[in-house]
Amino acid sequence: MFSATESEGALTIGVVKTGFLGHSTAVSPETASALLALVPGEQVRHAHRPRAYAVSPEPLTGVDCEMPSLSGRRTRGVGTVATRATLTGGRILQSCSYTTLVPATRDYRREWSHYLGRPGVVEVIRRMNAEDAAAGFAESDRGARAIELELIADAVLTGVQISSLLDRKLPLRAERGAWRWAFQHPGPDEAGIFKFTILRDGTRLLRLGVSDASLPDLLDLVEDLALHDWLLRTVEAKLERVQLESGTIDRALPSISALFDHLIHHWMPCARVKQELLPLWNELDRAIGLTQPWEISVNRVRDQLRLRGMNHARGPAAGTS
């Protein structure tokens, strides 16, 4: 969390990974607490409405490495990356690793305790260019990312998934979703920023410049976007497969009904988004395309099932006549 004075010119970069918890059923809040206890002694927080949600304490990872850049400039940053894991509906697991880049006040690396006094902040030694760093991280794949936030987030996600509390029986196969994002606080005379890119491998890149939004609220926002984007992609991928095997609704039926059993009811946009950010969510939804394609896809799933029901009702009778 940065204060008002620090936020000027600051840049926060992060990644969100989204996937199914490797378990056959939704887990209880107690199990969620045990899974997300990433820092012994610190608390896992829960919400029960509008749906079960749990968020872990945030372990830190120390880094001393080059910072992202689109232009290829080489700057060194020292500090810590924070990671939090969340579990939504006892089912959908997300990890988010992030750090705020600020210009260092000295041109050398300081004692390590200095950096631990500002958790979740990386100080960029000499020549920080927030624009270049944000573009390098979250605008294209051409830049050098240098700092491996994705690996940190993946490691936390994997750490939860290998827990002995999980039976690893997934009711539904789904690819892990990846978002890479950069938030800037535009100066008083600067316009807001919005850039959204989808990479070849499916990674979503988001650059956002918004004033008057706190980092925790923006984290909630981007996690919510990533979660719903992942739901949509998972449903679309299933429908695509069914279409490829057209005419074999019977064979596709288990995976189609699995969507209803395990996935579709998790669609609950903005459940955790601050009221002030709802207009932004709606704008992003329109630009990225979430709600509209979701409704189309869900209707298609319903149609498939209805069709199947009709065939089933008609089928045997037609055969005997």
Binding site: V39, G41, E42, A47, V78, R109, R110, E111, A146, L151
Partner: protein
């Protein structure tokens, strides 16, 4: 007719924000020296000599923090590595020797409590807060090193036993380097524990780091402050385990927890304390607790460094 005005709706989404216990604090916690158990059992004369050496430093702190500023004093009994004398024998002797030299021990703590109290292990809690000092080039690609029982401030410490001038010119020898050193390095490897007799035995340096963190009031377990001071028992027990972890000997004492600590020690402890400071430099405080302490300090007009190590002062003296 207009319908009723709809109020602005606010729904708190997180039902359980992390609730963290707030503790009262002194400005400074002064530790009145330290003695190993074998020093503690040398008798009243020896204890009085010890406190006589501490007295001028304690007076100095009191003069800097005159009332209404708050100072509390404490003494840590080394009962972890050996327990030759019992609390029944030792505690009254300690109180008497300090009093004879004009000092009041406000709080008496036992070192074994830094390792464990019942189910709770303060040392384990601290280990969970260690964020290792990253060597240059650390970008998150390699997972953090497995907890090896050692903590370092440098890289390349594994080197031949003796390095000769000739070896430094060998192509396959690279000198160790302190992370973040500007010109020259001071490399340290600190052992945190060993496994003596099949169970984990914490090092003196680690326990002393836990002790500093306790006095700074930054440790919480599930939001609760740990090892809060207790009133003294009616009679001092025969076993250290039966003594509360932190005992309030002076009922008018200022709070045990403090914004900063001052530890007065003989010079022979300098090495251990350098290790303590290195451990502390790699410990992160629960951010919720950090914010709470910063608010407390700001409300009282106290300037508090974010850097935890800078809240910990030491004086090394064998007498002035």
């Amino acid at each position: 007719m207009n319908g009723p005005e709809v109020p602005r709706l606010e729904v708190e989404v997180l039902t359980a924000k992390p609730r963290v216990e707030k503790v009262p604090r002194s400005h400074v916690s002064v530790e009145l020296g330290h003695l190993y158990m074998e020093d503690l059992v040398r008798g009243q004369e020896s204890l009085r000599r010890h406190f006589a050496r501490i007295k001028p430093w304690a007076d100095f702190v009191r003069s800097r923090y005159a009332p209404p500023l708050r100072v509390s004093t404490c003494f840590l009994v080394d009962d972890y590595f050996s327990a030759i004398a019992t609390p029944k024998e030792l505690v009254p002797e300690l109180i008497e020797a300090a009093e004879a030299e004009g000092l009041v021990i406000d709080y008496l703590a036992r070192e074994s409590a830094c390792a464990s109290v019942g189910e709770l292990s303060p040392a384990e809690l601290v280990m969970a807060k260690v964020i290792p000092d990253p060597p240059p080039g650390t970008n998150g690609r390699r997972p953090p090193a497995q907890q090896s029982g050692w903590l370092t401030n440098s890289q390349g410490m594994n080197r031949p036993e003796a390095v000769t001038e000739a070896m430094t010119r060998l192509p396959n020898w690279t000198p160790p380097r302190q992370n973040g050193a500007q010109s020259h390095s001071i490399c340290m490897d600190v052992q945190l524990w060993d496994n003596a007799g099949g169970r984990r035995r914490w090092s003196c340096a680690l326990l002393a780091a836990v002790w500093q963190l306790l006095r700074l009031g930054v440790l919480r377990c599930e939001g609760e402050a740990i090892l809060r001071p207790d009133d003294p028992p009616g009679e001092y027990p025969d076993r250290w385990d039966d003594l509360p972890p932190v005992v309030r000997l002076n009922e008018r004492a200022q709070p045990f927890f403090a914004f900063g600590t001052m530890t007065v020690l003989e010079t022979r402890f300098a090495e251990v304390e350098a290790a303590v400071r290195m451990i502390l430099s790699q410990v992160v405080v629960d951010p919720v607790v950090s914010v709470q302490i910063a608010d407390q300090a700001a409300a009282q007009g106290i300037e508090l460094p974010n850097d935890l190590v800078r809240r910990v002062s030491h004086v090394f003296s064998d007498g002035i």
